[in-house]
Protein backbone atom coordinates (compact mmCIF):
# COMPACT_ATOMS: atom_id res chain seq x y z
CA UNK A 1 0.00 0.00 0.00
CA UNK A 2 1.07 3.52 -0.57
CA UNK A 3 1.40 6.35 1.77
CA UNK A 4 -0.45 9.52 1.39
CA UNK A 5 -3.14 11.90 2.19
CA UNK A 6 -6.82 12.13 1.73
CA UNK A 7 -6.58 15.89 1.57
CA UNK A 8 -6.23 16.64 -2.09
CA UNK A 9 -6.74 20.36 -1.98
CA UNK A 10 -3.09 21.17 -2.28
CA UNK A 11 -2.35 19.16 -5.35
CA UNK A 12 -5.55 19.34 -7.31
CA UNK A 13 -4.69 22.72 -8.72
CA UNK A 14 -1.09 23.66 -8.57
CA UNK A 15 1.66 22.56 -6.35
CA UNK A 16 2.94 25.38 -4.28
CA UNK A 17 5.98 25.58 -6.48
CA UNK A 18 5.37 28.14 -9.15
CA UNK A 19 4.35 31.60 -8.39
CA UNK A 20 5.27 34.87 -9.86
CA UNK A 21 6.93 36.58 -6.99
CA UNK A 22 9.00 33.58 -6.15
CA UNK A 23 12.20 34.53 -7.84
CA UNK A 24 12.03 38.01 -6.42
CA UNK A 25 12.21 36.71 -2.90
CA UNK A 26 14.26 33.63 -3.58
CA UNK A 27 17.57 34.63 -2.19
CA UNK A 28 17.15 37.43 0.22
CA UNK A 29 19.01 37.02 3.45
CA UNK A 30 16.04 35.88 5.50
CA UNK A 31 14.40 33.55 3.02
CA UNK A 32 16.40 30.75 1.54
CA UNK A 33 15.25 28.59 -1.29
CA UNK A 34 17.01 25.30 -1.81
CA UNK A 35 16.75 22.46 -4.25
CA UNK A 36 16.69 19.10 -2.49
CA UNK A 37 17.08 15.90 -4.47
CA UNK A 38 15.90 12.54 -3.16
CA UNK A 39 17.94 9.47 -4.02
CA UNK A 40 17.54 5.84 -3.09
CA UNK A 41 16.05 2.54 -4.19
CA UNK A 42 12.38 2.31 -5.05
CA UNK A 43 10.37 1.34 -2.02
CA UNK A 44 12.61 2.71 0.72
CA UNK A 45 10.04 5.37 1.59
CA UNK A 46 11.19 8.56 -0.18
CA UNK A 47 7.68 9.56 -1.19
CA UNK A 48 6.32 8.81 2.25
CA UNK A 49 9.00 10.89 3.96
CA UNK A 50 8.19 13.84 1.72
CA UNK A 51 4.45 13.47 2.15
CA UNK A 52 4.85 13.26 5.88
CA UNK A 53 6.99 16.37 5.85
CA UNK A 54 4.86 18.38 3.44
CA UNK A 55 1.40 17.30 4.51
CA UNK A 56 1.90 15.78 7.90
CA UNK A 57 0.23 12.62 6.69
CA UNK A 58 0.97 8.97 6.40
CA UNK A 59 -1.85 6.65 5.66
CA UNK A 60 -0.83 3.36 4.13
CA UNK A 61 -4.41 2.14 4.25
CA UNK A 62 -5.92 5.09 2.46
CA UNK A 63 -7.09 4.37 -1.04
CA UNK A 64 -6.78 7.98 -1.96
CA UNK A 65 -3.13 8.66 -2.22
CA UNK A 66 -1.06 11.30 -3.84
CA UNK A 67 2.39 10.78 -5.20
CA UNK A 68 3.74 13.96 -6.62
CA UNK A 69 7.25 14.00 -8.00
CA UNK A 70 7.84 17.66 -7.20
CA UNK A 71 6.75 19.23 -3.94
CA UNK A 72 7.81 22.21 -1.95
CA UNK A 73 7.58 23.11 1.68
CA UNK A 74 8.75 26.09 3.68
CA UNK A 75 9.90 25.87 7.26
CA UNK A 76 10.64 28.64 9.72
CA UNK A 77 13.76 28.45 11.82
CA UNK A 78 14.28 29.88 15.26
CA UNK A 79 16.42 32.74 14.00
CA UNK A 80 13.31 33.90 12.08
CA UNK A 81 14.73 32.88 8.73
CA UNK A 82 12.74 30.60 6.46
CA UNK A 83 13.90 27.83 4.21
CA UNK A 84 11.86 26.73 1.25
CA UNK A 85 12.67 23.18 0.24
CA UNK A 86 11.99 22.34 -3.38
CA UNK A 87 11.96 18.60 -3.35
CA UNK A 88 12.90 16.71 -6.50
CA UNK A 89 11.98 13.06 -6.58
CA UNK A 90 14.05 10.78 -8.80
CA UNK A 91 13.01 7.55 -10.44
CA UNK A 92 14.47 4.68 -8.47
CA UNK A 93 14.40 2.04 -11.20
CA UNK A 94 17.82 0.81 -12.20
CA UNK A 95 17.38 1.70 -15.88
CA UNK A 96 17.23 5.39 -14.98
CA UNK A 97 20.27 5.46 -12.71
CA UNK A 98 22.40 7.08 -15.41
CA UNK A 99 20.03 10.04 -15.55
CA UNK A 100 20.53 10.99 -11.90
CA UNK A 101 23.18 13.66 -12.62
CA UNK A 102 20.57 15.65 -14.52
CA UNK A 103 18.55 15.81 -11.32
CA UNK A 104 21.21 16.44 -8.69
CA UNK A 105 22.96 19.07 -10.77
CA UNK A 106 22.59 22.35 -8.94
CA UNK A 107 21.02 20.75 -5.88
CA UNK A 108 21.95 22.29 -2.55
CA UNK A 109 20.85 19.20 -0.65
CA UNK A 110 20.84 15.49 -1.38
CA UNK A 111 18.82 13.20 0.85
CA UNK A 112 19.90 9.61 0.36
CA UNK A 113 17.41 7.16 1.76
CA UNK A 114 17.62 3.47 2.56
CA UNK A 115 15.32 1.05 4.31
CA UNK A 116 16.70 -0.36 7.59
CA UNK A 117 15.11 -3.72 6.74
CA UNK A 118 16.96 -3.94 3.42
CA UNK A 119 20.75 -4.32 3.23
CA UNK A 120 20.59 -3.98 -0.56
CA UNK A 121 19.07 -0.55 -0.19
CA UNK A 122 21.89 0.39 2.19
CA UNK A 123 24.42 -0.73 -0.42
CA UNK A 124 22.62 1.34 -3.00
CA UNK A 125 22.69 4.36 -0.67
CA UNK A 126 26.46 4.03 -0.44
CA UNK A 127 26.64 3.96 -4.21
CA UNK A 128 24.79 7.29 -4.32
CA UNK A 129 27.06 8.82 -1.70
CA UNK A 130 30.11 7.90 -3.75
CA UNK A 131 28.55 9.17 -6.95
CA UNK A 132 27.67 12.51 -5.35
CA UNK A 133 31.14 12.84 -3.88
CA UNK A 134 32.54 12.38 -7.36
CA UNK A 135 30.03 14.34 -9.42
CA UNK A 136 27.84 16.44 -7.13
CA UNK A 137 28.56 20.06 -6.43
CA UNK A 138 31.30 20.25 -3.79
CA UNK A 139 29.28 22.22 -1.25
CA UNK A 140 26.19 20.01 -1.45
CA UNK A 141 24.70 19.14 1.96
CA UNK A 142 24.23 15.38 2.14
CA UNK A 143 22.01 13.49 4.53
CA UNK A 144 21.90 9.72 4.94
CA UNK A 145 18.51 8.52 6.09
CA UNK A 146 17.65 5.07 7.41
CA UNK A 147 13.90 4.90 7.03
CA UNK A 148 11.24 2.51 8.37
CA UNK A 149 12.79 2.72 11.83
CA UNK A 150 9.42 1.56 13.19
CA UNK A 151 10.09 -1.93 11.82
CA UNK A 152 12.53 -2.89 14.64
CA UNK A 153 11.74 -6.55 14.46
CA UNK A 154 12.71 -6.69 10.78
CA UNK A 155 15.80 -4.53 11.08
CA UNK A 156 18.74 -5.81 9.06
CA UNK A 157 20.94 -2.73 8.93
CA UNK A 158 22.23 -1.85 12.41
CA UNK A 159 21.96 1.82 13.25
CA UNK A 160 25.67 1.80 14.02
CA UNK A 161 26.46 0.91 10.39
CA UNK A 162 24.64 4.02 9.22
CA UNK A 163 26.30 6.17 11.88
CA UNK A 164 29.76 4.87 11.01
CA UNK A 165 29.33 5.23 7.28
CA UNK A 166 27.96 8.75 7.58
CA UNK A 167 30.73 9.79 9.92
CA UNK A 168 33.40 8.44 7.63
CA UNK A 169 31.88 10.43 4.79
CA UNK A 170 31.28 13.61 6.72
CA UNK A 171 27.56 13.58 6.29
CA UNK A 172 24.56 13.95 8.49
CA UNK A 173 22.78 10.72 9.54
CA UNK A 174 19.34 10.09 10.97
CA UNK A 175 16.91 7.21 11.25
CA UNK A 176 13.30 8.09 10.49
CA UNK A 177 9.89 6.60 10.25
CA UNK A 178 7.51 8.14 7.80
CA UNK A 179 4.88 5.92 9.35
CA UNK A 180 5.15 7.23 12.91
CA UNK A 181 6.57 10.62 11.84
CA UNK A 182 9.59 9.94 14.01
CA UNK A 183 12.46 12.29 13.16
CA UNK A 184 10.88 13.55 9.95
CA UNK A 185 10.78 17.20 10.96
CA UNK A 186 14.13 16.81 12.68
CA UNK A 187 15.61 15.64 9.41
CA UNK A 188 14.58 18.74 7.52
CA UNK A 189 15.35 21.11 10.38
CA UNK A 190 18.83 19.70 10.71
CA UNK A 191 19.38 20.09 6.97
CA UNK A 192 18.15 23.67 7.12
CA UNK A 193 20.65 24.43 9.87
CA UNK A 194 23.47 23.02 7.82
CA UNK A 195 22.78 25.09 4.74
CA UNK A 196 25.32 27.72 3.88
CA UNK A 197 23.95 30.96 5.31
CA UNK A 198 23.20 33.85 2.98
CA UNK A 199 26.40 35.65 3.84
CA UNK A 200 28.31 32.70 2.42
CA UNK A 201 26.05 32.40 -0.58
CA UNK A 202 27.25 34.55 -3.40
CA UNK A 203 24.95 37.46 -4.16
CA UNK A 204 22.31 36.27 -6.57
CA UNK A 205 22.77 38.96 -9.20
CA UNK A 206 25.76 41.06 -9.99
CA UNK A 207 24.59 44.65 -9.79
CA UNK A 208 25.68 46.56 -12.82
Amino acid sequence: MGCGSSRLDRTSGRLNGLNNSENASAHDAKNLRVKLVLLGDSGVGKSCIVLRFVRGQFDPTSKVTVGASFLSQTIALQDSTTVKFEIWDTAGQERYAALAPLYYRGAGVAVIVYDITSPESFTKAQYWVKELQKHGSPDIVMALVGNKADLHEKREVPAQDGIDYAEKNGMFFIETSAKTADNINELFEEIAKRLPRPSQVQPSQPAS
Binding site: N20, E22, A24, S47, W88, Y103
Partner: protein
Protein backbone atom coordinates in the same frame (compact mmCIF):
# COMPACT_ATOMS: atom_id res chain seq x y z
CA UNK B 1 -1.84 34.79 -16.09
CA UNK B 2 -1.33 33.18 -19.50
CA UNK B 3 -4.19 35.09 -21.07
CA UNK B 4 -2.46 38.32 -20.14
CA UNK B 5 0.74 37.33 -21.75
CA UNK B 6 0.18 38.87 -25.16
CA UNK B 7 -1.18 41.99 -23.49
CA UNK B 8 2.03 42.05 -21.50
CA UNK B 9 4.05 41.85 -24.64
CA UNK B 10 2.18 44.68 -26.32
CA UNK B 11 2.51 46.69 -23.16
CA UNK B 12 6.24 46.12 -23.32
CA UNK B 13 6.42 47.23 -26.95
CA UNK B 14 4.26 50.20 -26.05
CA UNK B 15 6.57 51.36 -23.33
CA UNK B 16 9.50 50.86 -25.60
CA UNK B 17 7.96 53.28 -28.05
CA UNK B 18 7.71 55.90 -25.38
CA UNK B 19 10.44 58.47 -26.11
CA UNK B 20 11.50 58.21 -22.49
CA UNK B 21 12.73 54.68 -23.10
CA UNK B 22 15.03 55.61 -25.92
CA UNK B 23 18.08 54.67 -23.88
CA UNK B 24 16.67 51.19 -23.24
CA UNK B 25 15.73 50.77 -26.86
CA UNK B 26 19.22 51.78 -27.87
CA UNK B 27 20.75 49.13 -25.60
CA UNK B 28 18.42 46.46 -26.89
CA UNK B 29 19.07 47.39 -30.46
CA UNK B 30 22.80 47.48 -30.16
CA UNK B 31 22.78 44.18 -28.30
CA UNK B 32 20.82 42.51 -31.06
CA UNK B 33 23.02 44.00 -33.74
CA UNK B 34 26.16 42.93 -31.90
CA UNK B 35 25.05 39.35 -32.40
CA UNK B 36 25.33 39.48 -36.14
CA UNK B 37 29.05 40.23 -36.00
CA UNK B 38 30.18 36.82 -34.81
CA UNK B 39 29.45 33.25 -35.79
CA UNK B 40 27.04 31.32 -33.59
CA UNK B 41 28.52 29.94 -30.39
CA UNK B 42 25.67 28.67 -28.24
CA UNK B 43 27.39 28.49 -24.84
CA UNK B 44 28.83 31.95 -25.23
CA UNK B 45 25.70 33.38 -26.76
CA UNK B 46 23.64 32.00 -23.90
CA UNK B 47 25.90 33.67 -21.36
CA UNK B 48 25.82 36.95 -23.23
CA UNK B 49 22.03 36.93 -23.43
CA UNK B 50 21.64 36.05 -19.74
CA UNK B 51 24.03 38.82 -18.75
CA UNK B 52 22.13 41.21 -20.95
CA UNK B 53 18.85 40.25 -19.30
CA UNK B 54 20.34 40.96 -15.86
CA UNK B 55 21.78 44.27 -16.96
CA UNK B 56 18.47 45.28 -18.48
CA UNK B 57 16.56 44.21 -15.41
CA UNK B 58 18.62 46.61 -13.33
CA UNK B 59 18.20 49.32 -15.95
CA UNK B 60 14.45 48.83 -16.05
CA UNK B 61 14.16 48.82 -12.26
CA UNK B 62 16.00 52.14 -12.13
CA UNK B 63 14.16 53.60 -15.09
CA UNK B 64 11.72 56.51 -14.63
CA UNK B 65 9.16 54.74 -16.81
CA UNK B 66 9.03 51.96 -14.22
CA UNK B 67 9.28 54.17 -11.16
CA UNK B 68 7.39 52.54 -8.32
CA UNK B 69 6.73 49.41 -10.35
CA UNK B 70 5.99 46.21 -8.45
CA UNK B 71 8.11 43.11 -8.84
CA UNK B 72 5.35 41.66 -11.01
CA UNK B 73 5.50 44.63 -13.36
CA UNK B 74 9.25 44.40 -13.65
CA UNK B 75 8.86 40.71 -14.29
CA UNK B 76 6.34 41.39 -17.05
CA UNK B 77 8.71 43.82 -18.66
CA UNK B 78 11.45 41.20 -18.51
CA UNK B 79 9.17 38.62 -20.09
CA UNK B 80 8.48 41.10 -22.87
CA UNK B 81 12.16 41.76 -23.27
CA UNK B 82 13.01 38.06 -23.42
CA UNK B 83 10.39 37.47 -26.03
CA UNK B 84 11.44 40.44 -28.11
CA UNK B 85 15.16 39.75 -27.99
CA UNK B 86 14.87 36.02 -28.59
CA UNK B 87 12.40 36.42 -31.43
CA UNK B 88 14.84 38.80 -33.05
CA UNK B 89 17.79 36.49 -32.44
CA UNK B 90 15.89 33.31 -33.15
CA UNK B 91 17.41 32.30 -36.45
CA UNK B 92 20.81 33.13 -35.07
CA UNK B 93 20.44 31.13 -31.86
CA UNK B 94 18.08 28.23 -32.55
CA UNK B 95 19.59 25.06 -34.00
CA UNK B 96 22.41 27.28 -35.15
CA UNK B 97 25.15 24.68 -35.38
CA UNK B 98 25.23 21.93 -37.99
CA UNK B 99 25.87 19.37 -35.24
CA UNK B 100 22.68 20.43 -33.47
CA UNK B 101 20.70 20.03 -36.67
CA UNK B 102 22.27 16.63 -37.14
CA UNK B 103 21.57 15.57 -33.55
CA UNK B 104 17.95 16.63 -33.91
CA UNK B 105 17.62 14.53 -37.00
CA UNK B 106 19.25 11.51 -35.42
CA UNK B 107 17.00 11.64 -32.38
CA UNK B 108 13.94 12.07 -34.50
CA UNK B 109 14.94 9.12 -36.68
CA UNK B 110 15.63 6.90 -33.71
CA UNK B 111 12.25 7.79 -32.25
CA UNK B 112 10.68 6.92 -35.57
CA UNK B 113 12.14 3.43 -35.35
CA UNK B 114 11.09 3.03 -31.72
CA UNK B 115 7.56 4.12 -32.52
CA UNK B 116 7.25 1.11 -34.75
CA UNK B 117 7.33 -1.38 -31.90
CA UNK B 118 7.67 0.20 -28.46
CA UNK B 119 4.88 -0.63 -26.05
CA UNK B 120 4.20 0.73 -22.53
CA UNK B 121 5.13 -2.65 -21.07
CA UNK B 122 8.66 -2.21 -22.35
CA UNK B 123 8.98 0.62 -19.84
CA UNK B 124 6.95 -1.25 -17.23
CA UNK B 125 4.28 1.43 -17.24
CA UNK B 126 1.46 0.14 -15.04
CA UNK B 127 -1.85 -0.52 -16.76
CA UNK B 128 -3.54 2.08 -14.56
CA UNK B 129 -1.38 4.75 -16.19
CA UNK B 130 -2.04 3.61 -19.74
CA UNK B 131 -4.50 6.19 -20.82
CA UNK B 132 -4.45 6.95 -24.55
CA UNK B 133 -6.53 10.10 -24.20
CA UNK B 134 -4.25 11.68 -21.62
CA UNK B 135 -1.18 10.60 -23.52
CA UNK B 136 -2.50 12.14 -26.70
CA UNK B 137 -3.16 15.43 -24.91
CA UNK B 138 0.34 15.40 -23.47
CA UNK B 139 1.83 14.60 -26.89
CA UNK B 140 -0.05 17.48 -28.48
CA UNK B 141 1.42 19.89 -25.95
CA UNK B 142 4.94 18.75 -26.75
CA UNK B 143 4.36 18.88 -30.47
CA UNK B 144 3.41 22.55 -30.25
CA UNK B 145 6.92 23.46 -29.24
CA UNK B 146 8.00 24.71 -32.66
CA UNK B 147 5.00 26.99 -32.94
CA UNK B 148 6.79 29.39 -30.61
CA UNK B 149 10.02 31.28 -30.70
CA UNK B 150 10.15 32.73 -27.21
CA UNK B 151 11.92 30.48 -24.70
CA UNK B 152 9.14 31.07 -22.19
CA UNK B 153 6.50 29.80 -24.58
CA UNK B 154 8.52 26.78 -25.58
CA UNK B 155 9.02 25.96 -21.92
CA UNK B 156 5.30 26.34 -21.38
CA UNK B 157 4.66 23.53 -23.89
CA UNK B 158 6.81 21.28 -21.74
CA UNK B 159 5.14 22.39 -18.52
CA UNK B 160 1.70 21.83 -20.01
CA UNK B 161 2.67 18.38 -21.21
CA UNK B 162 3.96 17.47 -17.75
CA UNK B 163 0.83 18.83 -16.09
CA UNK B 164 -1.32 16.59 -18.22
CA UNK B 165 0.77 13.65 -17.07
CA UNK B 166 0.59 14.80 -13.46
CA UNK B 167 -3.18 14.86 -13.72
CA UNK B 168 -3.17 11.39 -15.17
CA UNK B 169 -1.11 10.13 -12.25
CA UNK B 170 -3.37 11.92 -9.81
CA UNK B 171 -6.50 10.47 -11.34
CA UNK B 172 -5.03 7.00 -11.40
CA UNK B 173 -4.23 7.17 -7.72
CA UNK B 174 -7.62 8.64 -6.86
CA UNK B 175 -9.39 5.87 -8.66
CA UNK B 176 -7.79 3.63 -6.09
CA UNK B 177 -6.32 1.03 -8.40
CA UNK B 178 -2.83 2.41 -8.49
CA UNK B 179 -0.34 3.08 -5.72
CA UNK B 180 1.36 6.32 -6.67
CA UNK B 181 5.05 6.12 -7.32
CA UNK B 182 6.09 9.75 -7.74
CA UNK B 183 9.02 10.00 -10.11
CA UNK B 184 8.95 6.20 -10.55
CA UNK B 185 5.68 6.73 -12.44
CA UNK B 186 6.31 10.14 -13.90
CA UNK B 187 9.55 9.54 -15.75
CA UNK B 188 8.54 6.40 -17.69
CA UNK B 189 5.34 8.09 -18.82
CA UNK B 190 7.12 11.24 -19.95
CA UNK B 191 9.60 9.07 -21.86
CA UNK B 192 6.82 7.14 -23.53
CA UNK B 193 4.90 10.31 -24.39
CA UNK B 194 8.04 11.89 -25.82
CA UNK B 195 8.56 8.89 -28.06
CA UNK B 196 4.95 8.92 -29.19
CA UNK B 197 5.09 12.67 -29.83
CA UNK B 198 8.47 12.77 -31.55
CA UNK B 199 8.52 16.53 -30.98
CA UNK B 200 10.27 18.49 -33.73
CA UNK B 201 13.91 19.40 -33.12
CA UNK B 202 13.77 18.06 -29.59
CA UNK B 203 17.43 18.55 -28.81
CA UNK B 204 17.57 22.10 -30.17
CA UNK B 205 14.40 23.13 -28.40
CA UNK B 206 15.65 21.87 -25.04
CA UNK B 207 19.02 23.47 -25.54
CA UNK B 208 17.41 26.75 -26.57
CA UNK B 209 15.25 26.83 -23.44
CA UNK B 210 18.18 25.97 -21.20
CA UNK B 211 20.37 28.66 -22.71
CA UNK B 212 17.92 31.46 -23.28
CA UNK B 213 15.07 31.20 -20.80
CA UNK B 214 15.77 33.76 -18.08
CA UNK B 215 17.71 31.88 -15.44
CA UNK B 216 15.54 33.36 -12.69
CA UNK B 217 12.64 31.46 -14.27
CA UNK B 218 14.41 28.15 -14.70
CA UNK B 219 13.75 27.10 -11.14
CA UNK B 220 11.31 25.09 -9.07
CA UNK B 221 8.59 23.14 -10.78
CA UNK B 222 9.41 24.52 -14.22
CA UNK B 223 13.01 23.38 -13.88
CA UNK B 224 11.86 20.00 -12.61
CA UNK B 225 9.64 19.45 -15.61
CA UNK B 226 12.28 20.62 -18.04
CA UNK B 227 14.79 18.26 -16.41
CA UNK B 228 12.39 15.37 -16.90
CA UNK B 229 12.08 16.01 -20.61
CA UNK B 230 15.85 16.47 -20.87
CA UNK B 231 16.11 13.12 -19.09
CA UNK B 232 13.68 11.57 -21.51
CA UNK B 233 15.77 12.82 -24.42
CA UNK B 234 18.94 11.50 -22.86
CA UNK B 235 17.32 8.13 -22.17
CA UNK B 236 16.15 7.89 -25.77
CA UNK B 237 19.56 8.81 -27.16
CA UNK B 238 21.29 6.08 -25.13
CA UNK B 239 18.44 3.63 -25.41
CA UNK B 240 19.33 0.03 -26.24
CA UNK B 241 17.88 -3.38 -25.43
CA UNK B 242 19.14 -3.13 -21.85
CA UNK B 243 17.14 0.04 -21.27
CA UNK B 244 13.88 -1.77 -21.84
CA UNK B 245 12.05 -4.80 -20.59
CA UNK B 246 12.61 -6.65 -23.83
CA UNK B 247 14.79 -9.49 -25.03
CA UNK B 248 17.93 -8.28 -26.73
CA UNK B 249 17.16 -10.32 -29.82
CA UNK B 250 13.62 -9.02 -30.06
CA UNK B 251 14.88 -5.46 -29.70
CA UNK B 252 17.47 -5.84 -32.45
CA UNK B 253 14.99 -7.52 -34.77
CA UNK B 254 12.37 -4.86 -34.18
CA UNK B 255 14.84 -2.06 -34.81
CA UNK B 256 16.04 -3.79 -37.96
CA UNK B 257 12.49 -4.31 -39.17
CA UNK B 258 11.72 -0.66 -38.53
CA UNK B 259 14.80 0.37 -40.46
CA UNK B 260 13.78 -1.78 -43.40
CA UNK B 261 10.28 -0.38 -43.32
CA UNK B 262 11.79 3.08 -43.38
CA UNK B 263 14.03 2.18 -46.29
CA UNK B 264 11.04 0.84 -48.18
CA UNK B 265 9.41 4.22 -47.79
CA UNK B 266 12.59 5.74 -49.11
CA UNK B 267 12.57 3.60 -52.21
CA UNK B 268 9.09 4.80 -52.93
CA UNK B 269 10.14 8.43 -52.54
CA UNK B 270 13.77 8.37 -53.45
CA UNK B 271 14.83 11.86 -54.41
CA UNK B 272 15.59 13.99 -51.40
CA UNK B 273 14.98 12.08 -48.22
CA UNK B 274 17.58 12.17 -45.50
CA UNK B 275 16.26 9.29 -43.46
CA UNK B 276 18.95 6.83 -44.45
CA UNK B 277 21.61 9.03 -42.99
CA UNK B 278 20.68 8.69 -39.38
CA UNK B 279 22.98 5.94 -38.35
CA UNK B 280 25.94 7.07 -40.33
CA UNK B 281 28.47 8.51 -38.06
CA UNK B 282 30.06 11.24 -40.06
CA UNK B 283 27.81 13.41 -42.15
CA UNK B 284 29.02 16.96 -41.92
CA UNK B 285 26.78 19.87 -42.67
CA UNK B 286 26.51 19.16 -46.37
CA UNK B 287 27.36 15.48 -46.60
CA UNK B 288 23.86 14.34 -45.86
CA UNK B 289 22.82 15.18 -49.36
CA UNK B 290 22.38 12.04 -51.39
CA UNK B 291 23.59 11.76 -54.97
CA UNK B 292 20.38 12.80 -56.55
CA UNK B 293 20.39 15.91 -54.47
CA UNK B 294 23.95 16.69 -55.23
CA UNK B 295 22.96 16.61 -58.86
CA UNK B 296 20.15 19.04 -58.13
CA UNK B 297 22.57 21.13 -56.21
CA UNK B 298 24.83 21.45 -59.22
CA UNK B 299 27.62 22.93 -57.16
CA UNK B 300 25.41 25.71 -55.91
CA UNK B 301 25.20 26.73 -52.28
CA UNK B 302 21.44 26.73 -52.60
CA UNK B 303 20.53 23.35 -54.06
CA UNK B 304 16.83 24.01 -54.34
CA UNK B 305 17.16 26.84 -56.82
CA UNK B 306 16.40 24.51 -59.72
CA UNK B 307 14.00 22.26 -57.83
CA UNK B 308 10.33 21.91 -58.70
CA UNK B 309 7.78 21.85 -55.91
CA UNK B 310 6.68 18.38 -56.98
CA UNK B 311 10.13 16.92 -56.41
CA UNK B 312 10.27 17.93 -52.78
CA UNK B 313 9.38 15.65 -49.90
CA UNK B 314 8.79 16.19 -46.25
CA UNK B 315 12.38 15.14 -45.76
CA UNK B 316 13.47 18.33 -47.48
CA UNK B 317 11.84 20.59 -44.96
CA UNK B 318 14.74 20.47 -42.58
CA UNK B 319 17.30 21.28 -45.21
CA UNK B 320 15.15 23.97 -46.73
CA UNK B 321 14.63 25.51 -43.33
CA UNK B 322 18.30 25.58 -42.58
CA UNK B 323 19.05 27.11 -45.97
CA UNK B 324 16.30 29.61 -45.37
CA UNK B 325 17.82 30.50 -42.00
CA UNK B 326 21.20 30.84 -43.59
CA UNK B 327 19.86 33.21 -46.19
CA UNK B 328 17.94 35.24 -43.63
CA UNK B 329 20.96 35.44 -41.35
CA UNK B 330 23.12 36.66 -44.20
CA UNK B 331 20.51 39.12 -45.23
CA UNK B 332 20.07 40.42 -41.68
CA UNK B 333 23.79 40.85 -41.29
CA UNK B 334 23.97 42.63 -44.57
CA UNK B 335 21.13 44.92 -43.51
CA UNK B 336 22.75 45.85 -40.27
CA UNK B 337 26.07 46.53 -41.92
CA UNK B 338 24.34 48.70 -44.45
CA UNK B 339 22.57 50.53 -41.65
CA UNK B 340 25.81 51.17 -39.93
CA UNK B 341 27.07 52.82 -43.05
CA UNK B 342 24.07 55.14 -42.62
CA UNK B 343 23.44 54.81 -46.30
CA UNK B 344 19.71 54.40 -46.16
CA UNK B 345 16.83 53.59 -43.90
CA UNK B 346 16.01 50.40 -45.75
CA UNK B 347 14.50 48.13 -43.17
CA UNK B 348 15.12 44.46 -42.74
CA UNK B 349 12.06 42.54 -43.72
CA UNK B 350 10.48 41.60 -40.45
CA UNK B 351 8.48 38.43 -40.19
CA UNK B 352 4.91 38.58 -41.29
CA UNK B 353 3.67 37.70 -37.84
CA UNK B 354 1.18 39.71 -35.89
CA UNK B 355 3.81 41.56 -33.97
CA UNK B 356 5.78 42.62 -36.97
CA UNK B 357 4.43 46.11 -37.35
CA UNK B 358 5.15 46.97 -33.75
CA UNK B 359 8.44 45.27 -33.91
CA UNK B 360 9.30 47.13 -37.07
CA UNK B 361 8.31 50.32 -35.41
CA UNK B 362 10.63 49.59 -32.58
CA UNK B 363 13.36 48.88 -35.04
CA UNK B 364 12.79 52.21 -36.67
CA UNK B 365 12.93 53.99 -33.37
CA UNK B 366 16.23 52.31 -32.83
CA UNK B 367 17.35 53.17 -36.27
CA UNK B 368 16.86 56.83 -35.50
CA UNK B 369 18.79 56.45 -32.32
CA UNK B 370 21.61 54.77 -34.18
CA UNK B 371 21.55 57.38 -36.87
CA UNK B 372 21.96 60.19 -34.40
CA UNK B 373 24.80 58.43 -32.73
CA UNK B 374 26.84 58.16 -35.84
Amino acid sequence: MEANQSVTFYDFLDRMRNPASLDLVRSIKSFIVSFSFYPANPENDGKKVQEFFLTMETAIRDHPLWAGATDEEIDSAMEGLEKYVMTKLFSRTFASLPEDVKFDREISEKICLLQAFLRPEHLDIPVALQNETSWLLAEKELQKINAFKAPREKLLCIINCCKVINNLLLNASMSGNHVPGGADDFLPVIIYVTIKANPPQLHSNLKFIQLYRRQAKLISEAAYYLTNVVSAKSFIVDLNAKSLSIEEIEFEESMQAARLANKATLVENPPTTFNTEVFRTDPGPSKFLDEKETKLKGGSKYPYMDAEAGELTVGDVEKLLSLYKDVVTRYTTLCSKVRHLSISKTDCPATSEGTSSLATELEETCLDANGKKE
